[in-house]
């Protein structure tokens, strides 16, 4: 443990710390057993600064923040000291804590879609926060809500105030959340993974807003994140947590240039990196130039003018999720499908798997027509024959593996469905597969809940390649994983792909991840392809303005690079 006890670079002249945490320890009692979630955590935060609390899942970063708010469950035992402007918060009486919460400390949470109460309007919820701390009339509060919503950059504050959460987008909701958090002029803003659930272009806007508010309102921000790109973008100081302990405490600039602790170095190495961005003047050229198919080779996947529609909310109107998409994947080729939420990337994956019927266009996998098999006339046997030639890896391994079956059984399932291997042969094959994904064969008798997230995703990959598929569909296979686990899974993915030689449709919102794996990249926006081409070309010198914007918005784990990207992003998004 090389925790630096003194941190001279944190001292800003003349200001005593606003928030100071010392010797913080949090224990949870679970089934009579005491488990320590946070151990001897200390940190200091001054006004006008952004302190990032960084760590992977289970590192204790959120627990530390919740302890500051006094919002830990009753089963938690908190020791140590947390002072805000000299006021002790640990063990403070409920009334004082309520005054602090929402009054002195504003909070933003990760998932704006669920963090706001679905049955109240945005305006009501913000006004409620104001009236909880200020003795103002309803009309004064309403007026203030309007101002706040305008402050956080929402275009139609009155309409937003009247809206219910389900009527707004994730980005709008997170801005509304921020408006609520700053409604009582807090001195400290706690932002718990404020952009994790958002698209990169939306994330860039939210980070920009936080940066702006920090200087305008002279607040301190305690930022909790797992994303080194976000840290590089906005943080002044960084505290790295691991298993509830502080492993490194330093200025953000130094963390990236000179990480002192081995764990920090590992963490930084694990972050997938985007190539340096060179933004040429975006050509307004023809958006979707289909790459010509290689002559003579039958493509693993061929989509021609694919259209997929979903029934809309109001009857009769259908939502076009995929609009006239044509693409092909050659045998053994990895194609990265990139886009933000609602771009139709997952729908394309599901159509390929025969889970969603195509409204028009053709879908063929290794020459077999999926569109026909999955269409109105249900051809179960044909669909099964096609499915036997593809594997699918989903985003969340915890929910895509049957919790009541051993992982060995799960891996063997496609074998018993589609092959006539005997029990012994199946078992041998399962062991081979486990070995191929870097798991000891003994794990075959484990249940999913007895494994870590990374191990489960390895199992999911083993199951997907069990039949030696011609095509593997991977839908955000690493987004639910910690960054160090993600790095190992991506490494595994590459080696498995080499070993089995399948074609792969790799769906992801993360450009850096796609860059690591894909031969070719296809960029989707609102159901249409805006750009496609070799990964190196598209991600280095994008031609379509949207791709440029997407690339500029993606934060990278390097403050200097990130500053350039941020500037580029501002240029790209500023009107005129």
């Amino acid at each position: 443990m090389t925790t630096s006890t003194s941190a001279p670079h944190l001292v800003t002249a003349g200001r005593s710390p606003l928030l100071s945490v010392a010797g913080l320890a949090v224990e949870f009692e679970v089934d009579g057993e005491t488990r320590e979630a946070v151990h001897d955590v200390a940190l200091e935060l001054r006004r006008g600064r952004v302190l990032a609390l960084v760590g992977e899942s289970g590192s204790g970063k959120s627990v530390t923040a919740m302890a500051t708010l006094g919002l830990l469950p009753a089963t938690a035992k908190v020791r140590g000291s947390i002072t805000l402007d000299g006021t002790e918060l640990v063990g403070a009486d409920p009334q004082r804590l309520r005054d602090v919460r929402g009054g002195r400390i504003g909070t933003i949470f990760q998932e704006p879609m669920t963090a706001l109460n679905p049955v109240f309007t945005i305006g009501y919820q913000i006004a409620e926060a104001i009236r909880a701390h200020r003795d103002v009339t309803r009309s004064v509060a309403t007026e203030r809500v309007r101002d706040l919503l305008a402050t956080v950059g929402l275009d139609e504050p009155d309409r937003v105030a009247r809206s219910y959460p389900h009527e707004l987008s994730g980005g709008q909701l997170q801005r509304a959340m921020i408006a609520m958090a700053i409604s009582c002029d807090p001195v400290l803003l706690i932002a718990d993974e404020p952009t994790t659930a958002l698209d990169v272009t939306v994330q860039a806007g939210i980070l920009e807003l936080l940066r702006d508010l920090r200087s305008r309102l002279d607040m301190a921000i305690l930022l909790i994140t797992h994303d080194m790109g976000v840290v590089a973008d906005i943080a002044d100081d960084v505290v790295v947590l691991r298993d509830g302990r502080v492993v490194e405490r330093t200025a953000a600039a130094e963390l990236f240039t000179d990480p002192r602790h081995e764990y920090t170095r590992t963490l930084l190495r694990a972050v997938p990196r985007l190539p340096d961005l060179r933004l040429a003047e975006p050509e307004p050229a023809e958006p979707a130039t289909p790459v010509p198919e290689a002559a003579g080779v039958e493509p693993a996947v061929l989509l021609r003018n694919l259209v997929v529609e979903y029934p809309g909310r109001s009857r009769g109107r259908r939502v076009r999720a995929v609009d006239d998409v044509s693409l092909h994947i050659d045998p053994g080729e990895v194609v990265g499908l990139v886009g933000e939420s609602g771009s139709g990337k997952s729908t394309i994956g599901r159509t390929l798997a025969g889970l969603v019927p195509a409204a028009s266009g053709t879908v063929t996998v290794t020459g077999l027509d999926i569109g026909r098999a999955a269409g109105r006339v249900f051809h179960g046997r044909e669909l099964r024959r096609i499915r036997a030639r593809m594997g699918i890896v989903f985003q969340d391994p915890a929910s895509s593996l049957n919790p009541r079956r051993t992982v060995g059984t799960s891996i063997a399932e496609p074998l018993s469905l589609h092959t006539d291997l005997g029990a012994d042969d199946r078992r041998r094959r399962v062991d081979e597969l486990l070995e191929a994904v870097g798991l000891p064969p003994e794990l075959r008798d484990r249940y999913p809940h007895e494994m870590s997230g990374g191990q489960r995703q390895r199992v999911a990959i083993a199951r997907a390649v069990a039949l030696n598929p011609a095509l593997l569909i991977a839908d955000e296979p690493t987004s639910a994983l910690d960054v160090s686990v993600q790095a190992r899974i991506l490494e595994l993915f590459r080696s498995v792909q080499r070993q089995f030689g399948f074609a792969c449709l790799f769906i992801s919102h993360d450009l850096a991840v796609v860059e690591q794996l894909a031969d070719r990249v296809v960029v989707l926006r609102r159901g249409r392809i805006v750009e496609q081409g070799p990964a190196a070309t598209v991600l280095r010198t994008p031609r379509h303005p949207y791709t440029s914007q997407l690339l500029a918005a993606a934060p990278v784990a390097d403050p200097a690079q990130q500053a350039l990207r941020r500037a580029a992003w501002r240029r790209l998004t500023s009107p005129g």
């Binding site: 309520r98 005054d99 919460r101 929402g102 669920t114 109460n117 049955v119």
Partner: protein, 330 residues
């Protein structure tokens, strides 16, 4: 505009459902091996008298014609027979009980105050007790209070109402002599006696349903308390009372209102067992008597009326749902 379309759409589907139910109910006439004309024809029943009775009641027509007459009666009333012997049944005519010599509508109207008094009072009581107990249980999860409430609720769910009713009469009525054990006093006649006579049936009915609602509320509440927006409500400095009693409760109520509407609707159609146990002549007792006497027009009328109440309750729940849950109006 959208709300208007929603309401008119629901109204239309309600009408269609009612028609389907009326048709099904009317089938009783043809499925039951009983002939109202035969029953009221007296002895000796000559073929001529039987035919006369049939013609008088309108049973000499085809089943389709009879059904249309029935529907016509609902809308515009109808007249049975002609001349001096004619009886008129005013709209909405749910049929005519030739046995009791009274229109079914009038018979139902006579019984409504009793049944509605029992049902509404009991519903209010069980809603308060059930939701209250469920909330306390959820908030004090795992404590003796929670365990006691849930044990009590298990007993309530499994106890049959006639048993609880009879035991309550025995204990509070006869042994302790606290409340009257039977009968109904109209509210307009003597409000205090009205209340006094209803206390026991209310408690018995409420006790049983409250048990179900307590479980439902507890489960919903535990789920809602784990939601992110509850954490947000706390993080903005609201007190526990407001967090639970307003932010959480508003969301807990959404599924509860659905169940409540249906329960209340079917209870308004007659609490058959409770009415019998407490010797109150409500709709349930009316239906029971009608079945006992094979009074077909009355059976059909009361059944249809009960179905109408349930569908109406369902409709109101749908509307209320739109108010409680803004996501539902889509």
């Amino acid at each position: 505009m959208r709300a208007l379309r929603l309401v008119s759409g629901r109204l239309l589907s309600m009408l269609v459902t009612l028609l389907a139910i009326s048709l099904l109910t009317y089938a009783v006439f043809y499925l039951l091996p009983a002939d109202p004309a035969q029953l009221s024809c007296g002895r000796p029943c000559t073929p001529q008298r039987l035919a006369d009775a049939r013609a008088f009641m309108g049973y000499d027509e085809s089943w389709f014609r009879q059904y249309l007459d029935f529907l016509g009666g609902l809308v515009g009333g109808r007249t049975f027979g002609s001349g001096v012997a004619a009886v008129h049944c005013a709209a909405p005519c749910f049929g005519y009980s030739f046995r009791l010599n009274e229109s079914v509508t009038q018979l139902i109207l006579d019984r409504i105050p009793v049944t509605f008094s029992i049902a509404l009072g009991a519903a209010l009581l069980w809603l308060l007790i059930g939701v209250g107990a469920g909330m306390v249980s959820a908030v004090r999860r795992g404590t003796p209070v929670d365990r006691a409430a849930m044990t009590f609720s298990t007993v309530g769910v499994s106890a049959p109402s006639y048993l609880v009713g009879l035991l309550a009469i025995l204990l509070f009525g006869f042994t302790l002599n606290m409340v009257p054990v039977s009968g109904y006093v109209p509210l307009t006649e003597d409000p205090v006696q009205w209340l006094w006579h209803l206390v026991l049936p209310w408690c018995v009915l409420a006790l049983l349903s409250a048990a179900v609602y307590a479980r439902l509320t507890r489960g919903q509440m535990l789920e809602v308390l784990g939601e992110d927006y509850i954490r947000t409500a706390r993080a903005k400095g609201l007190g526990e009372r407001r967090v639970i009693g307003w932010h959480a409760l508003r969301n807990v109520l959404i599924p509860i209102v659905t169940v409540f509407g249906l329960d209340l609707g079917s209870l308004l159609g007659g609490a058959v067992i409770t009415e019998r146990v407490f010797s109150m002549s409500g709709l349930g007792a009316l239906l029971l008597d009608a079945v006992g006497n094979i009074d077909l027009p009355l059976i059909v009328g009361v059944t249809l009326f009960s179905a109408f109440l349930i569908i109406l309750a369902n409709f109101l729940v749908d509307l209320l749902y739109g108010v409680l849950d803004p996501r539902a109006t889509r």
